[in-house]
């Protein structure tokens, strides 16, 4: 690199560029571009584009183990699921319900608590970079470690959580991992503990981007802390807030590991989520057609929810202007 630079400098100083031989800079041949793009796009086509197509295709065919051929069945897979009479469809909607309960419980907490945490970390105090790293830490451990850990911490008899509750004189016999609604409290609580730092870090970066003079101006105008939060902070992080809402809903709807490890789908299979049941139906049961239709239903629900979030933010934005 240095050689290239010095060579360039030297030439420019010694002999000025010959204007007659100078042609418009041709930047690169399409073949060069192809070479740069090929490794990514080859995998992109095989593992991203083709799957989207084949998910739709498979959901319109009967495709399962022991069945000859893969006959086209149109919307039958969907119709069966929506009819809700077969065992599979009942279990699927139970899974969708579990995913829904979990998301409705955790998403609001994961939108609000991290914002409070970010506002705290946005204060000036010694070691705040260190504390930011501590609050983020549970996230890097991954769901397997976190799930195993809390399965132990929340154990009815031996778990430290119940032992602590007993020690302070509260009911310490709660079956966190085997009954409802305690199971939902456990799953939601652990998920908040695990990922709160992730969203907080995103909020914090947004808070740091808000110009300081906006706060000063608001203070001079006599705005108190709460008023400053509503008038300066919230509008300042609106785009990031929308981003956090969207990714949090999507992440909650993908929940699998927590219910596989903490509650182990108990009681019965009541905490088995939709994606868990889709994987069991498709991969273990090799019922590709039905599981693909389930995937499409879950995915479309998510797209609808994301679109609603987008619309809601637009509405609020319009009202503000």
């Amino acid at each position: 690199m240095t050689q290239l630079m010095t060579g360039h400098e030297a030439r420019r100083l010694d002999d000025p560029p010959d204007v007659t031989t100078r042609r418009p800079l041709r930047r690169n041949s399409p073949w060069t571009a192809l070479a740069f793009l090929l490794p990514f796009f080859a995998l992109f086509v095989v593992f991203v584009i083709v799957p989207v197509g084949s998910a739709v295709w498979a959901s319109l065919h009967r495709w399962s183990l022991g069945l000859p051929g893969r006959p086209w069945v149109g919307g039958d897979n969907y119709a069966e699921l929506f009819a809700g009479t077969s065992v599979t469809s009942v279990e699927f909607w139970k899974g969708m319900q579990a995913t829904g309960i979990f998301s409705a419980g955790s998403a609001p907490l994961l939108i609000v608590i991290p914002l409070a945490l970010a506002l705290l970390l946005h204060q000036k105090f010694p070691g705040r970079t260190f504390f930011r790293a501590v609050y983020f830490a549970p996230y890097v451990f991954g769901v397997a470690v976190v799930g195993l850990l809390w399965h132990y911490l929340l154990d009815r008899q031996l778990g430290p959580v119940n032992q602590l509750l007993r020690a302070v004189g509260l009911p310490g016999d709660i079956a966190w991992t085997t009954t409802l609604p305690a199971g939902w409290v456990a799953l939601i609580g652990v998920t908040v503990w695990w990922t709160v730092g992730f969203n907080a870090v995103i909020y914090l970066a947004a808070l740091q981007d808000i110009p300081k003079d906006l706060y000063e101006a608001a203070t001079i105008d006599g705005a108190g802390a709460w008023r400053r939060f509503l008038a300066v902070t919230l509008p300042g992080i609106r785009r990031v807030l929308q981003f956090v809402v969207t990714i949090t809903i999507i992440a909650c709807a993908n929940m699998y590991g927590q219910s596989a490890l903490i509650t182990q789908e108990q009681p019965g299979t009541d905490t088995r989520t939709a994606i868990g049941f889709i994987a069991q139906t498709g991969i273990e049961g090799f019922d590709i057609g039905t599981s693909s239709a389930m995937s499409m239903i879950l995915a479309v629900s998510l797209v609808v929810v994301s679109a609603l979030v987008l619309l809601a933010f637009r509405k609020v934005g319009d009202l503000e202007q």
Partner: protein, 301 residues
């Protein structure tokens, strides 16, 4: 700290005498700082104590771990749990650790290789359908991940990759995030640098390799660490596509450990600690890159 104290008002030698500032509201500020400090420390306990309990229980004996008399610190620390899981042929934790390391490193390397080159081309090269390609990659960021589960299983099955390292390394490598993230970085580099090198006869590859990559080092490091972590922590996919015990990654192995030793919390916590140590090392070393990467993902979205 110093920000709470009222800074002395600047009095120029010839300037008018400014009336002294009102006395600092010490009485109200002190408790506020105290509350702030206590909140920060209480939250630290909330996040750290569960992790310490994991370590503590892993050093307890079976009897102590299963005792109804809970103790925060092991009364008689022992390595028995570690000896048992690390010596087990049926549940080869060390082999799982090796599998996880290998898979996460290969995945990270693959993601970085294909994402840097494609991101550079999409940021700086000219070719037909550039905007279309970029739009296509961007659009897939909004496709819910559940769509890919069954098709990936079918493709991996078709390729004969079930129960193999390849099934963990390759399918999720061509994600949109890396390309979009790095493209932003390349776009910010001054084009004059490239022009200068081009005039000097450097070819596209040399420009990419000798100039752009070194400039993008922090972004590449961030992507590498994030890809490593996401592969290391992946749970659902390895649980379903790996089926022989010696092919498992640590997360899938931990699930199996839990299935075998449901109530042996000393063993389970020892397994969790083994799975945590490498992540903790990566986190301590690359904490800045991880947190920067996550926060930039939001700001740039």
């Amino acid at each position: 700290m110093s920000s709470t104290e009222v800074t002395p008002v600047n009095r120029g030698p010839a300037g008018p005498v400014v009336p002294p500032p009102p006395p600092p509201p010490r009485v109200r500020r002190r408790p506020r700082r105290l509350v702030l400090g206590l909140t920060v420390l209480a939250l630290t306990a909330v996040f750290v104590v569960p992790l310490l309990l994991m370590v503590s229980t892993s050093f307890k004996s079976v009897e102590e771990a299963n005792s109804l008399d809970f103790s925060l610190v092991p009364q008689e620390p022992t390595l028995a749990a570690y000896r048992e899981i690390l010596g087990s042929a049926r549940l080869p934790v060390l082999r799982w650790l090796g599998n996880s390391l290998l898979v996460a490193l290969l995945h990270s390397a693959l993601v970085v290789t294909i994402s840097t080159t494609a991101a550079y081309a999409l940021a700086r090269l000219e070719f037909p359908f550039r905007r279309t390609m970029l739009g296509l990659v961007l659009a897939t960021m909004f496709v819910p991940g559940v769509i890919f589960l069954i098709p990936h299983f079918l493709i991996v099955n078709e390729l004969g990759w079930l129960n193999s390292y390849a099934s963990l390394v390759v399918p999720s490598a061509a994600g949109a995030f890396g390309v979009i993230f790095l493209r932003q970085f390349f776009l910010a580099v001054n084009p004059a640098i490239e022009e200068a090198a081009r005039i000097d006869g450097a070819n596209q590859w040399q420009i990419f390799w000798h100039m752009m990559l070194p400039l993008a080092k922090p972004a590449v490091a961030t992507l590498a660490v994030l890809a490593f972590l996401s592969s290391w922590n992946d749970f659902l996919w390895p649980v379903f596509v790996l089926f022989s015990t010696d092919m498992l990654t640590l997360p899938a192995g931990l699930a199996q450990l839990q299935g075998e030793f449901a109530s042996r919390f000393d063993l389970l916590m020892a397994g969790a600690v083994v799975a945590s140590v490498p992540v903790l090392v990566v986190y301590v070393v690359a904490q800045r890159y991880i947190i920067e990467g996550v926060s930039q993902g939001g700001v740039k979205a």
